[in-house]
Symmetry: C2
């Protein structure tokens, strides 16, 4: 695997299908210089590529099956003929530098884990997302949805993966970890969080202790660690709440809509280009299911950059 290897894009994943993924691949290639290989139904993909005159610019690998967005587990992947499974195989074999998919998070996680394997000593993978903070920096939220029922030991490992990501991708020196819980005092939380807090205190990293829901965007810590159920709900709650707050401002008629849209874009799922699935033997970026072309392109850029740095992908 060299840095010149293309990013492999699961072109059938996502709510909007090949129309948006192919457009995103063309953008990634032409505007960001990222080589991309598309995986999916070759006929459909070539027809989309033809619309941009990009048939000879972007390679296509045929995969006849599509994993439905409602698919959670590995069931439908058993044939190995889905665009997701074939894409994972390309990366595993070294023909691709990294995988990007806007498919069902559950399906991408289970397929990638099976095909690419967990890095040594990693119990479960976790999704890391960098959220912009009011202080102008970013906070890594991990796990944003890969493992919905982790053990406390897994949560402690997620923190380590998040620290590596903050160090190597965001350039933070000695990142501070906070455990998402209810109440900032020690001992507050559900059973999982209380035990995870004890384990986090034993790690050779800077542990702030508990943080709360209002700390996620406040820049209180560099890494907010939680289980994948809570993390995914928080991630989507941030998106929805930003939208709601700015809609109230717009409805009050006190700010120009185009300037509000700029603020909204800071929190758009497209801004961070997707979530990095950490803890595997190769780079995987899961783009939002609702991603349009520009977001897919951004995810390809992030995947290329992550695969070059190899950062945060091994514990």
């Amino acid at each position: 695997m060299t840095t010149a290897a293309p990013v492999v894009l699961d072109a059938m994943g996502g709510d909007h299908g090949p129309a948006e993924t192919v457009a995103g691949a063309v953008q990634a290639c032409r505007e960001h210089g990222v080589p991309v290989t598309l995986v999916g139904r070759a006929g459909e993909l070539r027809a989309e590529l033809a619309r941009y005159g990009a048939t000879h610019e972007i390679a296509v690998t045929h995969a006849p099956d599509v994993v439905p967005m409602a698919e959670r587990g590995p069931g439908a992947l058993a044939t190995g003929k889905s665009s997701l499974a074939v894409g994972c195989e390309l990366v595993r074999g070294g023909a691709g530098a990294a995988l990007v998919s806007a498919g069902s998070t559950g399906a991408v996680v289970s397929c990638a884990v099976r095909a690419l394997g967990r890095a040594p000593r990693v119990l479960r993978p976790a999704l890391a997302v960098a959220l912009p903070t009011v202080t102008g920096g970013a906070t890594v939220l991990i796990d944003a949805g890969a493992t919905s029922d982790p053990t406390p030991e897994m949560v402690a490992q997620f923190a380590v993966l998040g620290v590596t990501y903050a160090e190597e991708v965001l350039g933070v020196a000695e990142p501070v970890v906070g455990l998402l819980s209810i109440g900032s005092e020690p001992g507050k939380g559900n059973r999982l969080a209380r035990r995870a807090a004890e384990l986090l205190a034993l790690l050779p990293h800077r542990f702030h202790g508990n943080v709360e829901g209002h700390d996620v965007l406040a820049g209180t810590v560099d890494v907010v660690v939680t289980d994948g159920f809570t993390g995914n709900i928080v991630l989507k709650n941030v998106e929805g709440t930003v939208r709601a707050a700015l809609a109230q401002v717009a409805a009050a008629g006190i700010a120009p809509p185009d300037r509000l849209a700029e603020v909204a874009r800071r929190y758009d799922p497209g801004t961070h280009g997707g979530a990095a699935l950490l803890g595997l033997n190769a780079t995987v970026v899961v783009a939002h299911g609702s991603s349009r072309a520009a977001t897919i392109a951004r995810a390809c850029v992030v995947a290329r950059d992550l695969s070059k740095s190899r950062a945060g992908l091994r514990s």
Copy 2:
């Protein structure tokens, strides 16, 4: 217990102590016509009342002990001499119509459950908060922090309590319930949510199915039900994210700060006046720990109104 019975205010609860709670009681009494009885260290409370010339206006019941904000369980309440425990006793005995406390949620819940008792067939109490939606209405978030490790059966009961609250307090006819989870498709979620979804489908209420983090403020459903750990994190995440988004708008200099503050107040913990602790034999309102006088006053109004309607407080 008559409607003329006063609201009992735990005057020692909250981050800011008697200075704010007493000021809040005076506001509740003078501006909203709510009779209030203060419970706490009588000397301190009378000194504060004197500052407003309200010594003869508002009754004081002495309680020598204070429950620290870090207190989670019933330990420190064993003496029964804390302002919280004495306040609960006043309500239990009928000398108060309802209890308001800005103390530690965990302490208020455990003390209130012990003193007031759960309503028949209620397994665990739950906190209900009405959040303003972008559609101009409100969505009940339940449980917002009373029971951090519920069983699926408890979560299904929380939904029933939330429906009653939406019907009787917000005036919604046949409220629609959504289960907070990850992914809108059936079968998505952690173990707790997946089992709770099965139970919710069996209830004689309108069940939308799963909703996600971005649905909380979108008006998708009338009641968003979840466990108290996730619900408390979401509640505080909404507060923090509104703050962050409006701070970005303010920093961009595209809207007048005073008009932005108006929008912020819609989501302020003070706006909804506190969380109603449902499932007990009497009305209990838990105000935000950071509550200032106006928020305390609003919580007293909500408690008075809830105790009059007796709405949502019995399953």
